[in-house]
Symmetry: C2
Subunit: 449 residues, 2 copies
């Protein structure tokens, strides 16, 4: 019995074994679960990864490659393997995983690998390669457990045992008619409990959840987790059973979508790989920074417009940064809460309206409190009550604008079908910069000069 | 056959039926899945929710309450139900869900509800109430399917069918010895495939993954998703089987942790409920804004220090906001990528070092590019090459600082055991504000005056 935990000493041991011969390495690797070796790969160079894959039995090697983080490019290992070993490994993989990995290679190499596979494997993968990556079709595994609805319990059970031999795992049993139309699902438990002669069609639950092949992966994830399903069948427009998507694929999708959300809201392109190199990072972030630079010129032009005001009251310079900065932060808060809320569930018109109203109220209160603190400071430190009033008004106004824009911009984007997370803090803070300066310098030029 | 999709017309129909009598409402509700009714509840007032729960059969009512978003307080429905109906509903619930909901009520009411339940239900829930909410113990369901390792295949199968009668769903079968020590797990598939007389102990896979009751829920989620498990057994220090955690609980944990990450990084308290009212939002965000106000005074004091420089060259005011704003955004980018990366996997020392180095490089390049654009502007618009040089240097320097702090502060926090996401943009942008002003005004006072 063994609990799986990886630490530095494991990495150390493998590294040392890599300096030795294959036999000792082989013995050591037996102690590790495939998904642990996949994690170890992240801290090993490419040659060592390839050597380990060549040493491992094909079944384990296949699992390791399946579990590898896509950011360390499992396809590169396939690329360099001996064709015979490669076909063994790919044939052991789930079709959906094999497809994902192979799809990363240039078309020429895809054809080469597919050509080495047996006909059944090749045709499954070829079909999967035709679906968009982020749809149910791109996510599904075509290897599904299915029984004809005319079978009796006894026949069905034999069929299930036969089919499950070739399958790593199954969760629900799909019931189809003679033309592969999905008629419903049934659990193994219900089959076991029933009498031997009862036909499967009587056990089927006809109220079941499924998705079409072109359904977006985010929608698939929502549905599976809403209905607490271990797997969900995928059908075409005529209800032909095409495949299934399992909860572990959905967990990966959720993590991926969450990463995209957090990156986009922070002004990073959703495609940036977290562990990517500086070149990818520059490519992903520079465009957003240049957009920000343009909007910053907009804010700066407001300041330029009030040149005279500032030069007559230089003290305003310091307060400018306080008002704009506080607005930016308040907007980021409202934005994060709203974007996250939208991404977890759709809002009705009424809920959307109440959200904006709530953020208005929050902005008003937080603005007034913070404005009051700065007012007190201006009163005692700068000894200027009128300046204090100007700052109080500008702070309150700017935090109200922060709340309204932080909530309403992602809501509007969602309505018109644009990803709300793209309303990144970069976009939102332009509003609070421009309005912060306008409010402070506008009030100041009226009331202080 | 039916696909589940909710839209406005459904809400409309239910609303209309709520104006009519119970019988018509009852008929209409039959068309909906429990988890759909739970979603509909979000747009219905409390009285309507309670009326619907009272109309539904206890089994469905129990599912609806189990599926309700915690933010619309399922415990309030329990509170007001007739004791008899209430005990029926709670007894239908999974123990872990019942515990989560009951734990939201004051102790007095908890005792009242537990007193109404039958002994078995009450004692399970009482035990679960003793575990911390965010540990494996707090997450687990104590209703597990287990068989003694001495049983034969035939006996075990009968036992499994018997136990599964009372269970909504099961995924793996736990094998225990006479003293309830967990010896391993076995899949139904492996049992079905074996001969009738083979003892279960020979089918057990002794290499299996489990968690202790006090394991943090985030760790549980990582392990379950890493090993692609549908469920994971929970044991005490002596390996006694206590319960199981299923993939659907883990999906909820992942969503919860992701929400916390995105909120904290944006300077919102992790406890703020996304659909909460303005009072909760003010309570959650005002402290962060006040912290930000204090740090903003720090940045403003840098500006004050250079009062003379600004009054002699008011043109600097506009550039100040550009340099500080760009630094803040670049820091937010580096922060988001680093925090998300840490939250998905632990980094080795070497990976941490390389991350900071990467962000330094990204800052240098993005700083130089943006600095160059502003330099060109200063050259042609302000006709001042020296000013251009000052801005170029300040921009490059500030984006380097942004990259280094955005990456290293969360890494350091993680090392010393503080949640890295707390290094919110509010904290990080203080650095870029202060250093942005220092660099621009410092260079300006040396080179321009």
């Amino acid at each position: 019995m063994q609990s799986f935990e990886l630490d530095k000493s494991d990495i150390q041991r493998i590294r040392q074994a890599l300096d030795g011969d294959d036999d000792a390495l082989k013995v050591l690797l037996k102690e590790y679960h495939a998904s642990e070796i996949a994690i170890l790969f992240e801290s090993l160079p490419q040659e060592s990864r390839e050597r380990i894959i060549n040493i491992l039995p094909s079944e384990t090697a296949s699992e390791v490659i399946s579990e590898m983080d896509y950011e360390i490019h499992p396809e590169k290992i396939l690329e360099n393997l001996h064709p015979e070993k490669r076909s063994e490994i790919v044939e052991e993989m789930d079709y959906d995983v094999a497809t994902d990995i192979i799809s990363q290679l240039p078309e020429e190499q895809q054809d080469e690998i597919l050509g080495e596979l047996d006909e059944e494997n090749a045709s499954h993968i070829r079909q999967l390669l035709t679906y968009e990556e982020d749809t149910a079709g791109g996510l599904m595994n075509t290897q599904v457990l299915k029984v004809n609805h005319n079978l009796t319990k006894k026949e069905a059970l034999e069929e299930i045992i036969r089919q499950s031999e070739e399958m790593e795992e199954f969760y629900t049993i799909n019931v189809v008619d003679n033309h592969n139309h999905l008629k419903g699902i049934v659990s193994l438990k219900d089959i076991l409990k029933s009498k031997n002669t009862v036909p499967i069609r009587e056990l089927v639950n006809p109220d079941f959840v499924f998705v079409k092949a072109d359904t977006d992966q985010e929608e698939v994830a929502k549905r599976l987790s809403q209905y607490n399903l271990t797997s969900i069948p995928v059908v075409d427009d005529e209800m032909h059973l095409l495949g299934r998507i399992t909860f572990d694929d959905v967990i990966d999708v959720l993590q991926e979508e969450n990463t995209e959300d957090i990156l986009k809201i922070s002004g990073v392109s959703e495609d940036e790989e977290l562990a990517g190199n500086w070149k990818e990072a520059v490519k992903s972030r520079l465009p957003w920074l240049v957009i920000n630079l343009i909007t910053a010129f907009l804010a700066a032009s407001v300041i330029r417009y009030f040149d005279q005001t500032i030069s007559r009251l230089v003290i305003l310079s310091g307060y400018m940064t306080i008002i704009a900065g506080m607005g930016g932060n308040a907007a980021t808060q409202a934005l994060a809460v709203t974007v996250r809320r939208i991404s977890l569930s759709d809002l009705t018109d009424n809920q959307a309206y109440r959200t904006v109203l709530k953020e208005f109220t929050v902005g008003l209160i937080n603005g007034a409190v913070n404005g009051f603190i700065v007012l007190i400071f201006a009163l005692f430190y700068d000894n200027n009550p009128m300046l204090g009033l100007v700052i109080f008004l500008a702070m309150t106004g700017n935090l109200i604008i922060a709340g309204i824009t932080g909530a309403s911009i992602p809501l509007i984007l969602k309505r018109i079908g644009i990803d709300p997370a793209i309303a990144s803090s970069i976009i939102i803070t332009t509003f609070t910069d421009v309005f912060g300066f306008l409010l402070l310098l506008g009030f100041a030029s009226k009331l202080l000069l």
